[in-house]
Assembly symmetry: C2
């Protein structure tokens, strides 16, 4: 069975957490909207729109990403990862470990939403430029309180498990997501992230270890890895860092 | 086995989604922080703090609510519900149905975060009064775009399943959460919610049906149901409605 991933073709976004798992597992998948080097046709766009249309499919997602796996249509990135994890050796098979991995992933998702809101605290329906003042206020608290709290939380989880990963010696999809968080925040908030990394060596070590995995390294060097850009979750606006 | 729920004792908050499931299932549980009519002792506060302290427990939550179920400590409300659902006949047992129910719950969680952010778009570390201007801007887009989008999404899910619940004839924990959303938005945004309900009868019918379930009706009439208040997720600020 070939998985079909549906997500916006120009950003890493929330789809990237799924892409990293599929790539690490060398799963047989197609990133539908990026097929043919991302040259989009009306047909491709229509296909995604159709699968989001609740009058045409039984279990539509509220938003991308979603994964077609045989007859299943699975939405919400953490939910997709929970489905893929035990199938591709990226999560424990026993219930206690699966729940814990998923709990960590949901905490990653909360962190991602707060990262997004640093540049869009009013609404994602307006441009950044139309909410810049509010973004500056939001970012101050993000840098001083929220990001350090999440970062210390995950650092402690690695520490308590014995490391190098969140659950100890075995990697899970949640580790791939932590890689993405560290990578993204280095890009978006370089000054803040430098301070955090100075204090918390285990998060940086986890990032390096994931980046060095053969399949991930190959993916990151490929054209499949979309570069960070200013339409994405992680954005570099100097005025928000500090 | 008696479950132990840990959550703030003065608000419904994210803990309420779990409380509703435990109450509907008549599960054997104790709401630890509210034990003894919510008269808090230092001992009770210390107990919750200890279970959140990553140097003292192996799998600490980032934040309440969390559930102690035997030797398991489970955090993130959607994750707790996913654990409870199949055990208490509040979710399908087969994987496809479980994933779909959880996907809906994660979409509820996204909606809840956006509801919270209407009054706290800058940071939860400041009072509402210190971000009132930004809250007004945020709420405008919430009322005009986001809430209608979520509402229509869930209405369509009920419609496509044949109703009266999200999955059709069998209730799940996600329906209890939709009840809470409708109940909370009627309180917080009465004008907006009236408009939404006029257009979408299935959401209102689901709310009424859940409210009429014997165990839920008994819970809502009891002292265990905390009243809506201005420290909670759902807050009535006239200037934000319209």
């Amino acid at each position: 069975m070939r998985y079909e991933l549906y997500y916006w073709p120009d950003i890493q976004g929330r789809g990237e957490f799924v892409r990293l798992a599929l790539e690490d597992a060398q799963a047989d998948y197609v990133d539908v909207m990026r097929r043919g080097n991302g040259e989009r046709t009306k047909g491709t766009r229509d296909k995604m729109a159709k699968l989001l249309d609740g009058t045409r499919v039984a279990r539509p997602s509220f938003a991308p990403p979603f994964l077609k796996a045989g007859s299943l249509l699975i939405g919400q990135s953490a939910n997709i990862l929970q489905y893929l994890g035990p199938r591709h050796d990226l999560a424990p098979k026993a219930e206690a470990g699966r729940l814990w991995t998923h709990q960590l992933q949901l905490t990653v998702a909360d962190f991602v939403k707060e990262i997004h809101d640093t540049h869009h605290p009013i609404t994602s329906r307006l441009y950044y430029e139309d909410q810049k003042k509010e973004a500056k206020r939001n970012s101050k608290y993000f840098r001083e309180a929220r990001a350090p709290k999440y970062w210390a939380y995950f650092e402690n989880v690695i520490d308590q498990s014995g490391g190098p990963y969140l659950l100890g010696r075995k990697i899970t999809y949640a580790d791939l997501s932590i890689f993405e968080i560290v990578d993204g925040l280095r890009f978006a908030f370089p000054k803040m992230t430098k301070r955090l990394e100075r204090k918390h060596p285990l998060m940086s070590a986890l990032h390096a270890r994931v980046a060095g995995r053969e399949n991930i390294a190959r993916y990151l060097a490929s054209k499949r890895r979309i570069a960070f850009n200013e339409y994405d979750i992680f954005r570099r606006y100097r005025e928000l860092d500090g």
